[in-house]
């Protein structure tokens, strides 16, 4: 009886932990791209997701974002910018460069090939 009670308590605690950890209001990691010689370069590390999740770019400065592949699983093997028509196979290109148009301010979303992981580039 006591064991059963403990199992139920532990299960409830674990479920609570999951809800808090995955749906709680946490800050997304973000970063501003480096600016040098009139160009900006950002880097996104691909490992279990995108780091930083939000990359900020300055409007009007030509920009290039490098995706650095550190994940060995198939899940994250592609990075797809549906609005730019870009689909890079990171399992073939460990450092994939993507040119980002910065003429307009706004958000550019990207995702993995299966649309499970999402990242964002914000031009401002």
């Amino acid at each position: 009886m006591l064991v059963n009670g403990l199992v139920i308590l532990a299960a409830a605690a674990l479920i609570g932990l999951i809800i808090w950890w995955f749906f709680g209001n946490f800050q997304k990691s973000s970063q501003q791209a480096d600016l040098a010689n009139g160009r900006q370069e950002g880097q996104v590390v691909v490992k279990g997701g995108y780091e930083p999740e939000v990359l900020y770019l300055k409007q009007g400065v030509p920009a290039e974002v490098t995706f650095k592949m550190e994940d060995k699983t198939a899940c994250l093997s592609h990075v797809v910018f549906s609005s730019l028509g870009v689909d890079k196979d990171l399992s073939k290109e460990k450092l994939a460069k993507v040119q980002i148009p910065t003429d307009k301010a706004g958000e550019i979303d990207y995702a993995c090939g299966m649309d499970m992981f999402h990242g964002k580039i914000v031009v401002r």
């Binding site: 059963n4 199992v7 139920i8 299960a11 674990l14 479920i15 999951i18 809800i19 950890w21 995955f22 749906f23 709680g24 946490f26 990691s29 490992k47 279990g48 997701g49 780091e51 999740e53 994940d71 060995k72 699983t73 198939a74 899940c75 994250l76 093997s77 592609h78 797809v80 910018f81 549906s82 730019l84 028509g85 870009v86 689909d87 399992s91 090939g113 299966m114 649309d115 499970m116 992981f117």
Partner: protein, 638 residues
């Protein structure tokens, strides 16, 4: 040596073979000696080879409050492995083979998926492979072979018989016929003479010619087609929003279900904690959000590649989804349902009138004049020298031909007698435009011209009707003429007397009854094309990407409309089927894995759950690849 998914799979499978043998021998109650210890060692190695990447990826994701398929695999295998370690050292039954086979099946699924994803994406590469790799370019006095990226606009290029046209341009000398099927979908070779456009990547027939390069590099038609296809392949269909929403909640929800599975079995049933744990692991392992994510994207990828090869460019997934739901198709008349250029259809009176008229009209720019000249040339009629030529805008032309004063034009211009006028009226009533030919002071003949319907128009329209799609024609012509052509082609509704701007208004009215597609020429009909739910541009320009309309037909062949509809419908049906499969997998798979049906003897061991999961992604991919072989109007198998 780099460990690819395939290598990981084969290595793990090799290590696991004795465990597989044991699983089979268990049926007869045979235990291999030392299998428990072998399982411990082999599975530890497999965990290292196979599970490492998943655990690393899952841990990185967890740190940023995310969970994904890798998390499920990492948790599923770790739980069974760690429990089996504990069981081994405390003398209980072990479940090493579960952990090992979960990994083997997941690795197999990943590897297969990678391969098929490459296959689906290959449709685009097929287009790129069409390109010639070098060109014979004139440098100084000689022709030299240069790689394609060194060819500049303005270069003179030699194209040999059977060779590939390297870039877009125009013939300057020589003649040939060119097979343009790969770009336009048109299966008949197209005759080319100096001045005609040729398209890069098309294949020259038996003649040889010199051409001047006009568009090179990113500007060629092929490069633009590839660009549009790429964009379409990576675009999203609105139906995909469903998966976006599901993805965020899916994995945490599965984890919660799995905890509940364990707690409920453990507390409320006599099966004990070990069995409860196996049920919980099965739940984690079978749940696969991947199939959901692959359902739309792979179907789009295959469909847009295939359609491009058939001369139909679909710009994105949204258009594809809209095209599948079209109820009404509106056609522009001139240049869409008709050829767009008047042709000589009837000749009355003196046979010499065509030759005389053509000689005169060769000096005129008027579209009807061009038609008369073309017809004369086609009929082998000589063009005679003309002197004292003069033209009166909108009325006619005159000049001296072979010593006679010849006039070609409207009835008033030549002061035609009533007998000729009556004959002309009969022709006009049939929708033809009539030109009078007068030699010296007497009318000697009539030339009747008409913008003829495209040869395939009638068949296409009746096919559309049989599919229950309403057809409408918009035209600037008068009502009488419009109705005549409408009847001839069997169109449902003809709207006549419209100015270009009014076409868009009519379209908006038709849209009240449901989604409407508009078929027209990419340049003149741009407003209507962009207003319609689906704009289908009959390809004319070379700037495919900028042309208005979500669908661009590379040839002026109306069959392309049917192809576009067929493809959209089939792709959309396939996407729905894929999503259905992916959802069903989870809807049925999770309860079964949780042991809900164990009372009727149906349950899944963790390794079978892993097999089912791997199979779900692969089956969705296979289903998308099937789009390469479905039947499309006017197209054979690829």
């Amino acid at each position: 040596m780099k460990l690819t998914n395939w290598r990981r799979f084969w290595l793990s499978l090799f290590l696991a073979l004795p465990m597989l043998a044991q699983m089979l021998l268990m049926i007869w109650g045979i235990m291999l000696p030392g299998i428990k210890t072998y399982s411990l060692i082999a599975t530890s190695l497999i965990m290292l080879i196979g599970a490492g990447p998943y655990i690393q990826s899952a841990w990185a994701a967890l740190k940023r409050h995310q969970a994904n398929m890798n998390s499920l695999i990492a948790i599923g295998t770790s739980v069974t492995y760690v429990y089996s370690l504990f069981a081994y050292f405390t003398g209980r039954p072990v479940y090493f083979e579960s952990a090992a086979f979960i990994l083997i099946f997941v690795l197999l699924g990943d590897a297969l998926e990678e391969k098929m994803h490459d296959r689906a994406a290959a449709s685009l590469n097929k287009l790129l492979e069409l390109q010639a790799s070098e060109a014979e370019v004139k440098r100084g006095e000689d022709f030299v072979k240069l790689p394609l990226d060194q060819v500049k606009a303005g270069d003179i290029i030699k194209v040999r018989p059977g060779g590939k046209v390297p870039v877009d341009g125009r013939l300057v000398s020589g003649q040939s016929s060119v097979n343009e099927a790969m770009v336009t979908g048109e299966s008949m070779p197209v005759a080319k003479k100096p001045g005609d456009r040729v398209i890069g990547a098309t294949i020259n027939g038996s003649g040889s010619f010199l051409m001047v390069a006009e568009q090179v590099g990113e500007e060629t038609m092929l490069a633009q087609i590839v660009k549009v296809v790429k964009q379409a392949q990576n675009s999203r269909a609105p139906i995909q929003k469903l998966t976006d929403k599901v993805a965020n909640y899916f994995v945490p929800a599965v984890l919660i279900v799995s905890i509940l599975t364990f707690a409920i079995w453990d507390v409320f049933s006599p099966v004990g904690p070990v069995k409860a744990m196996l049920y919980a692991v099965s739940v984690i392992v079978i749940a696969c959000p991947c199939a959901l994510g692959l359902a739309t994207s792979t179907a789009l990828m295959v469909a847009s590649g295939r359609s491009a090869r058939m001369g139909v460019l679909i710009k994105d997934g949204e258009i594809l989804e809209a095209a599948a739901k079209i109820k009404t198709i509106v056609f522009d008349k001139t240049g869409t349902l008709t050829v767009g250029q008047p042709q000589l259809v009837d000749q009355v009176g003196d046979k010499a009138s065509l030759s005389l008229a053509a000689s005169l009209e060769a000096n005129s720019e008027h579209p009807l004049a061009q038609a008369i000249v073309t017809s004369a040339k086609k009929g082998g009629q000589p063009l005679l020298p003309v002197s004292d030529f003069s033209a009166e805008e909108g009325k006619g032309v005159e000049g001296k031909v072979a010593g006679h004063l010849v006039k070609v034009g409207r009835a008033d211009y030549v002061s035609a007698p009533d007998a000729w006028r009556q004959q002309a009226e009969g022709l006009a009533e049939a929708g033809k435009t009539v030109a009078y030919v007068q030699k010296d002071s007497a009318v000697i003949g009539l030339l009747a011209l008409q913008d003829a319907p495209r040869p395939e128009a009638k068949a296409v329209l009746s096919e559309l009707k049989s599919r229950g799609i309403k057809t409408v024609m918009l035209t600037g012509d008068n009502q009488q003429l419009a109705e005549k052509i409408g009847r001839q082609l069997g169109i449902d509704q003809a709207e006549a007397g419209l100015l270009p701007g009014e076409k868009a208004d009519r379209l908006a009215k038709l849209q009240e009854a449901g989604p409407v597609a508009f078929v027209g020429d990419g340049i003149n009909d741009a407003p209507a094309l962009s207003l319609a739910d689906v704009g289908i541009a009959m390809g004319s320009g070379t700037d495919v990407a900028k042309e208005a309309g979500g669908i661009v037909l590379m040839t002026s062949d109306l069959t392309g409309v049917l192809r576009a509809l067929d493809l959209s419908k089939q792709t959309f049906t396939r996407i729905k089927l894929n999503l259905f499969w992916a959802l069903i997998y989870n809807l049925i798979g999770i309860p079964v894995a949780a042991g809900l049906f164990s009372f009727i003897g149906v349950s899944l061991s963790p390794e079978l759950a892993a097999l089912a999961m791997a199979f779900s992604s692969v089956s969705v991919l296979l289903s998308s690849l099937m789009l390469n072989w479905t039947k499309i109007a006017g197209a054979g198998k690829n």
